[in-house]
């Protein structure tokens, strides 16, 4: 069932444009500030030129086949600087994107996926409730990536965790170490991380996450997770002589 599209309102504000009715309780100035932050991102000019509203990005988008999601509308709202709609998308739409960048085939050379990257970052940076919700299920993945430098680890492969992966999962997980050692590259002979990560690499990753604003973004979304990650990192960093 699709819900009825909200009518574009008679916007009283001179700066307002073709505005939907969602998030009326959020002050316009707040929405505008977020949009200004998106526009100020140094990547923005390379991600948006003008939009034909042709839909080539939607046809290429895997998410659009499964969700009520349109990369066209993201580019379109940004091209029109429709502040109200952009805020709505920042809350309700950008998390449906899988960041595969199939949409980069745009004839105007826009990158709707790139715009979404920026929109997500701004949403997270400002702790929008929707971004907290969207990232809630990813705490474990974020923890893994940020502490080990690899994403899903082989030992996460448990029959009860992923029943839809079929009956072979049990056999593989019972003999995980053996299966891993059967892989030709030695760097994959790991079970608690996706592959072997050297101490030097890990140290560099920790430093990057500290000196970019990634740690601040994590704190904004999930304070508990931030604390746990910080604990792990601090030990390694202190040993290497870094004071954070």
């Amino acid at each position: 069932m699709s819900r009825a599209a909200p009518a574009t309102t008679f916007a009283q504000r001179p700066g307002a444009t073709l505005a939907p009715r969602a998030y009326e309780d959020v002050p316009y100035e707040e929405k505008l500030a977020l949009w200004e932050e998106v526009k100020a991102d140094p990547r923005f000019p390379d991600y948006l030129y003008g939009c034909y509203e042709c839909g080539i990005c939607v046809a290429a988008c895997p998410s659009a086949r499964f969700y009520d999601f349109s990369p066209r509308k993201i580019a379109q709202a940004a091209a029109r600087e429709d502040v109200e709609l952009i805020f709505e998308q920042m809350n309700d739409d950008v998390w449906n994107c899988s960041q595969c960048f199939s949409c980069d085939r745009c004839p105007r050379q826009n990158s709707p996926g790139g715009l979404i990257t920026i929109l997500r970052e701004v949403a997270v940076r400002h702790g929008l409730a929707s971004s907290q919700e969207a990232l809630e299920g990813y705490g474990r993945v974020v923890y893994k990536i940020m502490t080990t430098g690899t994403q899903v680890s082989p030992d996460m492969l448990q029959p009860d965790a992923f029943p839809d992966w079929g009956p072979d999962v049990k056999e593989v997980s019972d003999q995980l170490d053996l299966w891993r050692r059967a892989l030709p590259p030695e760097t994959l002979h790991t079970t608690s991380t996706g592959w072997e990560v050297s101490e030097k690499t890990l140290l560099e990753l920790y430093l990057i996450w500290h000196y970019s604003d990634v740690m601040d973004m994590i704190e904004e979304v999930d304070e508990g997770l931030h604390m746990i990650i910080l604990d792990v990192m601090e030990e390694t960093l202190e040993e290497a002589g870094y004071e954070i």
Partner: protein, 352 residues
Amino acid sequence: MGSDRLLVIGAGPAGLEAARLAASLGSQVLVVEKRDVAGGMPIHENYAALTHGFRDAGEAMSELISAATGHPNVELRTATEVTAVDGSVGDFSVTLSTGTGDETVDAGAIILATGFQHFDPGRETQQYGYYEFPDVITLADAEAMLKANNFVRPSTGEPPERVAFIQCVGSRDRQIGNEFCSKVCCGISSKQAIEVRQQVPDARVFIFYIDMRMYGYWENEIYWPAQEEYRVNYVKGIVTEILSKNGRLLVRGEDTTMGRPMEVPMDVVVLAVGMEPSLGTRKMAEMLGVATNKYGYIETPHGELDTVSTSVPGVFAVGAATGPADLDDSISSAGAAAAKAVALLRGAEVTV
């Protein structure tokens, strides 16, 4: 007894160019213009900058007028109308009338450069309130304001905060009877949108369209800069009606690509009125007996490879007298007709 004089009816861009070229090729050319001044629509309607090169219209037309009228083989008669034509190819007899009297001249060939008029947006099914709301204007009205560097809400004299262009007014409409595309309005609206943003930088500008028809280099020279540099908002969806609300205009339509109805306030609405054959084109076609199409434009019935010969031998038609045409088209067809007419006057065989 034949005549080797070429008669050009209409001193707009196409007529002047045809006259200039035929004169350069050695023919004697008489240009008859019913208005008091030469220059056609760009002068009569106070165009600001030409589409698509943004050249000042007054300056560009002055050059063309000087080039044509400065040629010793060209005679220009303004405030003069053609009121009767007799004879046939090689030997036309043409009656010219001024306020003070008639004169008959001979001509071997005739080029009709009688052009177009803008669609009257008060006509028939249009519900845009052109004659009701002072802030609803046409492209031609906007040109005049832009030329004066004074783009304002006519009702208040203040600069507008929000400006909308509505495309295809009087074009592509079976109910009105103009089924054709007027070809130039998308480009002119986009050009004007850029000029509005230049003159009123704080204004938001919207263009409501069915299809944007930005041929060839109009795409990258007008359309893309309008969107990318001047942040003009293009919305696919044509306005159904314009109402007045709280002292502003309320435009109602569908934001088709967003899939929702829209009602948005505007300070100025510019109607992108299309082209129709001018009264002069209709009158001359009837007087000369040249075939016209159902819209009243002069037919060039010989197909794609002869765009200027009419159904009457020795009579050629150029520019927007034959259908919607931009300046590039008008100037090109004027050149083709000048060459064909001069060849004919010299007795050369010109086959299609």
